[in-house]
């Protein structure tokens, strides 16, 4: 490859930089290639990013770690690293270890020792580093790093959507864009452009990019802009002298004003200061001029120097005029959608659950099948469906005294409508009532996964002073077992041979019931543990990651219990119960007996 990127290059963007990602995708669209961003890494959230490709909106996946990005998107070999200056180093080191081919780092203010260490490691592994403290690089019509090239309007004017004949490398990220425009206006535009960044020890130096331009037959002219500070130019001069750089080069080193300043002025670039006479702008311009590099009298003459050099190549027949490609249009009024749905679709002839028509579900007549599709976007094995139905049945009601039913009864008696009463009942479902299913599942799952023995797990919970979710019952005990648990358990054991988490929960129960007879595995605990064994492995991978946080299992409880709550509400309506008022003698006022003395 004689360019940094090709039209199939894809990248990982580290950091949720939506605008920059959109700029990359717009560039792809305008260049007529497929999207170049595979995945975004955001350590704080895996919520996907909404982006456009042309006029069409789509979701870009987000993962939490670079490792995960690498394993899921092995073809992406470029990292566009937007991490802050404090974490940029860790990303670069990990990227080098994972053998990424190109890593471009945007952050400014990376300590010099860090970037020097990156350089040493990257060299060992043959990784090309760009930056830090830059906007990146661009291969015209092929691939753009981040914000390189500005808005769509500007990138088209700078002809970045199609290759020209100039290889450009410079220090400043901001100036690179100005230079792309200058080159486009005075020649056929760039083939590739790199801004190495304004630091004293950038990941790659100016010279690192020149042999590639020399090898690339499409590059006819090289343009270099540099600044006061550093000695990169000596390598360029050496390469020209020994004949390894033969193409015409136009260059300019800025920073002649440094000598005029009456006091210490640190330019905006950390590397822009001269440690010796040889590092001054004047000395470097003269050195480059001495080996035939085309150096204008000042920056203001740079455009003309490029124009003349290009004209000369044209006169020699080495370059010819280009046919401008037809550029697809991006609508100006794109706006992101506010709602998003990935489980069902009512746009066609017939509405669908997932990818399947509702009528199919109706014909099959199974509610758990619809649940599987709408909740988990999948299909489940027949015994699993059956088991889910048993769970829904088991949790449908538990008499009028429990919180949910009681609240619903009180609301219905107060004359509230059915929906309000149902809501008041459902609102009680939480960590203490019915909502222990997810908690229990999570606790048993992680204890088992982390290799704790049941005894260690019990000890650990005791040490933390926490109740073990899914263990214990108000009324039931080993002497008076919960028949719901027995039935579910019985079915599960016969149909699912491998239930390690449930087995673990049962062993925990042996320990806890040895202490107190009512510390049994309750219905929440059994449902939680068994569904981790039965349901979790059947779910799509991206759903499994957030299995516990999403609250699916409490959802099952809420769904089943709605049946019972509605029953209680209808019951009260039929009975025309008057407004409920709690008896005073059942309330302790103040501190109780003491305050009455």
């Amino acid at each position: 490859m004689t360019t940094l990127f090709d039209r199939s290059t894809t990248a990982i963007v580290y950091g949720r930089k939506t605008i920059s990602i959109q700029r990359m995708l717009d560039f792809d669209f305008l260049s007529g290639r497929n999207p170049s961003v595979s995945v975004v890494v955001d350590p704080n959230s895996s919520a996907p990013v909404k982006v456009f490709f042309g006029k069409d909106e789509f979701l870009l996946p987000v993962v939490r770690t670079l490792n995960e990005a690498k394993s899921k998107f092995p073809a992406a070999d470029v990292i566009v690293n937007f991490a802050s200056l404090r974490s940029a180093g860790a990303v670069v080191r990990e990227g080098i270890n994972l053998n990424y081919r190109v890593i471009a780092t945007i952050a400014e203010g990376v300590p010099e020792r860090d970037s020097r260490e990156w350089v040493a490691k990257a060299k060992e592994k043959g990784v090309m580093l760009i930056g830090p403290a830059t906007v990146g690089a661009v291969t015209a019509g092929v691939f753009r790093v981040g914000d390189t090239g500005s808005s769509n309007q500007h990138l088209l004017k700078s002809k970045l959507h199609r290759p020209g004949c100039v290889g450009y490398v410079g220090k400043s990220g901001g100036m690179s864009n100005e230079m792309y425009r200058m080159i486009a206006e005075n020649s056929s535009g760039i083939v590739e452009g790199v801004a190495i960044g304004g630091d004293r020890n950038p990941g790659s130096i100016l010279f690192d990019h020149l042999p590639r331009f020399e090898r690339n037959p499409d590059v006819k002219l090289i343009v270099v802009t540099s600044e006061i500070g550093g000695t990169d130019e000596e390598l360029i001069v050496e390469a020209i002298r020994n004949g390894s750089l033969t193409k015409p080069i136009v260059a300019w080193v800025s920073g002649t004003s440094a000598e005029c300043f009456p006091k210490d002025v640190q330019f905006g670039h950390a590397g822009a200061w001269a440690e010796s006479e040889a590092e001054t702008a004047k000395a470097k311009n003269e050195l480059l001029r001495s080996v035939g590099v085309l150096i204008p009298e000042s920056f203001e003459g740079l455009a003309e120097t490029i124009r003349n050099a290009y004209q000369k190549l044209k006169n020699e027949g080495k370059v010819c005029d280009l046919m401008e490609p037809i550029v697809p249009e991006i609508p100006a009024d794109r706006s992101h959608t506010h709602l998003q749905c990935t489980i069902s679709d009512d746009r066609g002839e017939e509405a669908k659950y997932g990818d399947k028509a509702i009528s199919d579900f109706i014909r099959e007549g199974s509610l758990p099948k619809a649940i599987a599709k709408l909740w988990w976007k999948t299909e489940l094995s027949p015994p699993t469906l059956e088991y889910l139905e048993m769970i829904l049945t088991a949790v449908a009601d538990h008499g009028p005294a429990v919180s949910g039913a009681h609240n619903a009864i009180v609301s219905a008696s107060a004359g509230k409508d059915t929906m309000s009463a149902l809501c008041s009942g459902l609102l009680t479902i939480g960590p203490r009532f019915g909502g222990a299913v997810d908690g229990a599942a999570q606790a048993f799952y992680f204890a088992h996964k982390n290799g704790l023995s049941p005894q260690e797990f019990v000890d650990e919970m005791k040490e933390k002073g926490e109740r073990i979710p899914g263990i214990g019952h108000k009324v039931k005990s080993i002497h008076n077992p919960d028949s719901r648990v027995a039935e579910l358990s019985n079915f599960a054991e016969h149909n699912f041979p491998n239930m390690p988490v449930t087995k673990f929960a049962r062993e925990v129960e042996l320990i806890t019931t040895a202490k107190r007879a009512n510390l049994i595995l309750n219905v929440d605990g059994l449902i939680g543990a068994s569904l981790v064994d039965i349901l979790l492995p059947q779910l799509p991978e991206e759903l499994r990651e957030s299995f516990f946080e999403t609250g699916y299992l409490n959802g099952l409880f809420a769904l089943g219990r709605s049946v019972g709550i509605l029953g209680h509400i209808f019951d009260q309506k039929r009975l025309q119960t008057p407004l409920y008022r709690h008896p005073q003698k059942d309330i302790m006022y103040g501190e109780g007996a003491q305050t009455m003395m």
């Binding site: 010099e112 020097r116 920073g255 300043f261 200061w273 702008a281 009298e297 003459g301």
Partner: protein
């Protein structure tokens, strides 16, 4: 955020405080630092060794060749040292072409010694480099052949050569570790000497990488990296610096000459250098009032404060003709409309005192058309002369216009001769136009002499 020289006292304090406890060869470090507020009568009470005979006093202002220049004093006793300090403290002195105040001094016990070694640690791209010479001292530059260098790959330990006396090697190892661990890209000890089995750092020069300050808080303590000799910070610079420190964007401002008539607000580290070059080549460099740079998409509020601080300085010479160049290349991601909204707010706030200011704008990037239009409209409304251009105008062309407006253009010919040339701006300000061609003489009767 770059390498910055620190004071000798700071360098020695860093070495003394951070010397690895398990590392032998710890140098003898004893000093008292004096600044503009130090009570010289009180000092020997807290540092009784100052009364124990001969002491050395040095100006500690980050310039070299102090012995030759007369800023080192070997005093027989404390009284002599104190009176020498009193003579110099607070005085302006000229070092090279730069004038600055002597405020900081370093006092150390005088060490009678014979050998003078030269030891320095520097950074190359892929190596840390140790330089050593047995012929250290003031003229080490003239003895380059005697300097031996050891290049140590990053991450490896150095293998010292036998040119370095065995007894000195543990100290060299320790200093090398500190050079790495403290993010000092440059550390020079010249001379370093041994007396009676103890090592003394007779002179120390160091630079700190200020980009590392976020992770050096423990090692560096509350060290304040000095601004440099002859550089005193003004309240405006300080306020902008404090804003910059807190911002994710970059907002830099250095006041070069408060009476200069050319003010700049240039965006981008690279472009700001090129604008400085253009100004100092087209006008007397004393006319350049400031160096500055803003980039990284600052907020509207930040831009308002930044502009406002600069306009406060412009107002000090409100009756004088002055120009402001708001320049920059084609931004990659800085939003021109949003950032210019801050400039506009500041202009409105200061409108009554900046009637003699002419503003020249060249800036492009996301939302540039709207930003430029809004700025032009505001200036027209406030009656402030302003021209605005986008990418259609070569980047530094506004410099010629601004210099021309002041009538202070100079033409530095190829042979270095300087021709004055009075440039006059037409009374009607030019409007931005996409049809503008650099060679069209649309606004000026004559033009920056770059093509002359």
């Amino acid at each position: 955020m770059a390498q910055k020289p620190i004071r000798e006292a700071q360098a020695k304090a860093l070495i003394a405080v951070n010397w690895p406890s398990e590392q032998p060869g710890r140098p003898e470090i004893r000093f008292a630092a004096v600044d503009s507020r130090t009570d010289l009568n009180e000092l020997p009470n807290s540092q009784p060794w100052l009364r124990n005979g001969k002491i050395v006093v040095k100006a500690d202002e980050m310039f070299g060749k102090r012995g030759k220049l007369g800023y080192v004093k070997i005093a027989e006793n404390w009284e002599e040292a104190a009176s020498w300090i009193s003579d110099y403290r607070g005085k302006d002195v000229m070092i090279g072409e730069r004038v600055g105040k002597l405020n900081n001094f370093l006092i150390e016990p005088f060490i009678e010694h014979e050998s003078e070694y030269y030891l320095a640690f520097t950074c190359e791209r892929e190596f840390d480099v140790i330089h050593f010479s047995v012929k250290g001292g003031v003229d080490v530059e003239t003895q380059e052949d005697a300097i031996k260098t050891i290049r140590v790959p990053l991450g490896s330990s150095p293998e010292l050569i036998n040119t370095i006396p065995l007894s000195l090697q543990p100290t060299v190892h320790g200093l090398f570790q500190l050079f790495r661990a403290l993010d000092l890209p440059y550390l020079e000890l010249n001379p370093i000497t041994e007396v009676g089995g103890k090592v003394y750092l007779l002179d120390t020069v160091a630079r700190a990488d200020t980009a590392a300050s976020f992770r050096q808080t423990k090692n560096w303590g509350n060290m304040e990296v000095p601004l440099g000799f002859g550089t005193e910070i003004t309240p405006e610079e300080l306020r902008i610096k404090e804003m910059d420190d807190k911002s994710g964007s970059s907002l830099k401002f250095v006041l070069l000459n408060p009476n200069g008539r050319i003010w700049t607000m240039v965006a981008g580290g690279g472009a700001s250098i090129i604008y400085s070059d253009a100004i100092t080549s087209q006008a007397d460099h004393k006319e350049l009032a400031n160096y500055g740079e803003w980039s990284g998409n600052p907020t509207t509020d930040e831009m308002e404060t930044y502009t406002s601080e600069i306009l406060t300085l412009v107002e000090r010479n409100a009756d004088k003709e002055q120009v402001m160049i708001i320049g920059g290349g084609i931004a990659n991601f800085t939003d021109i409309k949003k950032t210019f909204a801050g400039v506009i707010k500041a202009l409105k706030k200061h409108q009554s005192n900046i009637k003699n200011l002419k503003i020249f704008v060249r800036r492009a990037g996301p939302n540039d058309e709207e930003g430029l239009k809004a700025l032009q409209a505001t200036c027209d409304e406030l009656g402030i002369f302003c021209v605005t251009y986008g990418a259609e105008l070569p980047m530094t062309e506004v410099v010629g216009m601004a210099v021309g407006a002041l009538g202070i253009g100079i033409n530095k010919g190829i042979n270095g001769e300087v021709n004055s040339e009075k440039l006059i701006v037409n009374s009607a300000p030019p409007k931005s136009s996409n049809e503008f061609k650099p060679n069209d003489p649309i606004t000026l009767t004559s033009y920056p002499p770059s093509s002359a």
